[in-house]
């Protein structure tokens, strides 16, 4: 169950990326899954090259994610910002296809692994996997850093301003293009980070990102938009739900429960269980 909590914080981290982009520019980022997968492979490559603590390698991976995000923004998002939402859905999906296509060509669909094992912590009769604890800790640290960034720094405040009311923000002299690009970059960086963390927990393939993308959607919808911390909490709840339910119900029922919950929450709580509606 605690395990579920820990894994859930990684779900939450992934969802934060999705939620941020959605909340700031009303774009549903369908490259999310591919970016998570890239995070997994990014960590794998760095770790194979430099065998140090993967949690340190997290930093360059996040940096790369940020840059990648800004590039993708310019290629696929910038031109379709004003247009109907279908366009950004499709453009991000197109990029997703391309990334997965290239990834499959390079890495095929074989499973990969990052072999790094932290010693666990044993309390009573339970052993908490070291990797899980570290991943959860990393997720929380990143989440809190993001929140601090959004609340305390100028750029962060600019992002919040644009998210609230783009026109007004522009009238105030905020270059919305720069802000949107950075916000998108951060969203991608979060996705990549969560992928990198997942790579230390479970074996993965180029297609694994898709599963986490779907979970991110469920979490984002549960939390509502524009509240990254809400996404983190919702992610933890989801992980908790999975952890609690697994011993009692066959694993094959879990997707059904998650998706039914997803549709029900979408229809019944358009604002999410905590959050507010995006523009």
């Amino acid at each position: 169950m605690i395990d579920g909590l820990l894994v859930g914080s990684v779900y939450g981290l992934a969802a934060m990326g999705l939620s941020l982009i959605w909340g700031v520019m009303n774009v549903i980022n369908l490259t999310h899954g591919a970016m998570i997968a890239l995070g997994m492979f990014g960590m794998y490559l760095l770790f194979s090259a430099i065998s140090t603590n993967p949690y340190i390698l997290l930093l360059p991976v996040i940096g790369a994610g940020l840059i990648l995000g800004i590039v993708v923004y310019w290629v696929a998002i910038h031109w379709v910002i004003g247009r109907p939402m279908l366009m950004s859905l499709l453009s991000t999906f197109a990029v997703n296809m391309m990334i997965i296509g290239i990834g499959t060509a390079v890495w095929s669909t074989s499973p990969y692994n990052v072999n790094f094992n932290l010693a666990g912590i044993t309390v009573g009769s339970y052993t908490f996997t070291g990797n899980h604890i570290a991943a959860a800790t990393a997720a929380v640290i990143i989440a809190l850093s993001l929140e601090t960034f959004l609340q305390r720094t100028r750029l962060g405040k600019a992002i919040r301003a644009v998210s609230d009311n783009r026109e007004a923000a522009e009238l105030m002299g905020i270059s919305s293009t720069v802000v949107l690009a950075v916000a998108f970059g951060i969203g991608i960086a979060l996705a990549v980070a969560s992928g990198a963390l997942v790579s230390t927990l479970f074996p993965f393939t180029i297609l694994s990102g898709a599963v986490y993308q779907l979970k991110s959607f469920v979490v984002t919808v549960l939390a509502g938009l524009g509240k990254p911390l809400g996404a983190l909490v919702a992610g933890v709840l989801l992980g908790l739900l999975e952890g609690v339910v697994t011993p009692f119900i066959a694993a094959s029922w879990i997707p059904l429960i998650e998706f039914t919950l997803f549709v029900v929450v979408l229809v019944a709580f358009p604002r999410g269980i905590f959050g507010k509606v995006a523009a």
């Binding site: 499709l90 999906f93 094959s252 549709v263 979408l266």
Partner: protein, 321 residues
């Protein structure tokens, strides 16, 4: 009157050629190619009713096809029903389910609706994977005896092919008929501005529910027919998310909102796909090329091929539907 539209006769001519061409010399490979194009056209043109006409993006469209396949196969294999009856029942059942789901999710707008359709697709797939009578993750197989009433497997497959072409013709005629009708005008008004349409007197809730349900019918029937032909079904091949997305790509390519556009887009995409699959170098990059193509279309030609034609020749708007 629909009979006065050139598009109507074009549909009949194209359908006739689909039937005639493979029939010459019993050309099975050609038939197999054409059947894929026909299914693509069926899926794209029915999806067009939601996306192109009403402006509601259905990302989970393939769920109708898959469910139709399951119901059809179950009724023919397990219950020994006649194929035509089973296919029609599948169509009606799936339309009815669509109506029920629709009542819930059609309240949502834009991206929320799109996400909900993904949720429905995944939920149905997850459900079927746990559903015993339908074989859970293994799926179901058709026994060869089911082909007997049709005079054996070979003959059955030909008849099945004709039925699919019939459904293709029906899909296109249905699209055309709706587009030139008052109902269609209401749908397009909803697409342009749903709230304004309501204020103008369009019963948006009813119209949306109807079109969602209608857009499910023929794909479900086609699913029943196709999986009968394939002889087997499982939750992965029935509810493949990629197929749903390919439908959207086809519409974007050809031009959403246009009957000809949907058909052309489907045709072009199938051609592209078969070309990529057979070319040894490019088959790995199938996804990359398709993605690149989609990106180019979205960024530079969101009206698709037909949209481009409309801009080139403004008079064609009235003629090519």
């Amino acid at each position: 009157m629909i009979l006065r539209r050139p598009s109507f006769w074009l549909i009949l001519i194209v359908s006739a050629s689909f039937i005639y061409l493979p029939l010459r010399g019993q050309n099975v490979p050609l038939r197999e190619d054409l059947i894929l194009v026909a299914v693509a056209i069926i899926l794209a043109s029915n999806l067009n009713l939601m996306i192109g006409y009403t402006g509601y993006v259905n990302f989970g469209h393939i769920v109708f096809y898959g469910l139709g396949g399951y119901i059809g196969l179950y009724l023919t294999t397990v219950r020994g029903w006649n194929l035509v009856l089973a296919a029609l029942t599948a169509g009606v059942a799936v339309s009815f389910l669509a109506l029920l789901f629709g009542l819930g999710i059609l309240r949502l707008r834009g991206a929320y609706f799109a996400l909900a359709t993904i949720g429905v697709l995944q939920a149905v797939q997850a459900f079927v994977m746990n559903f015993d009578p339908w074989g859970r993750s293994t799926g179901m197989y058709l026994s060869f005896t089911s082909y007997q009433p049709w005079g054996g497997a070979t003959r059955a497959l030909w008849i099945d092919y004709y039925l699919i072409i019939g459904i293709m013709a029906l899909s296109l005629i249905l699209s055309l008929g709706i587009k030139i009708s008052k109902f269609g005008l209401g749908l397009f008004a909803i697409r342009e501005n749903e709230d304004a349409a309501a204020v103008l007197g369009v019963n948006t809730t009813l119209f949306k529910a109807i079109i969602y349900s209608v857009s499910a019918f023929l794909p479900a029937v086609a699913g029943a027919l196709m999986f009968f032909k394939n002889g087997m079904i499982d939750p992965f091949v029935a509810f493949e998310f990629m197929l749903s997305l390919e439908g959207i790509v086809m519409l974007m390519l050809g031009g959403q909102g246009s009957v000809t556009g949907a058909a052309l887009g489907a045709g072009m995409y199938e051609w592209l796909r078969s070309f990529l699959l057979t070319s040894p170098k490019l088959s790995d990059f199938q996804l990359v090329i398709a993605g690149g193509l989609l990106l180019v279309v979205v960024l530079f030609a969101p009206g698709g091929l037909i949209g481009w034609v409309y801009r080139l020749v403004p008079r064609s708007r009235g003629v090519i539907e």
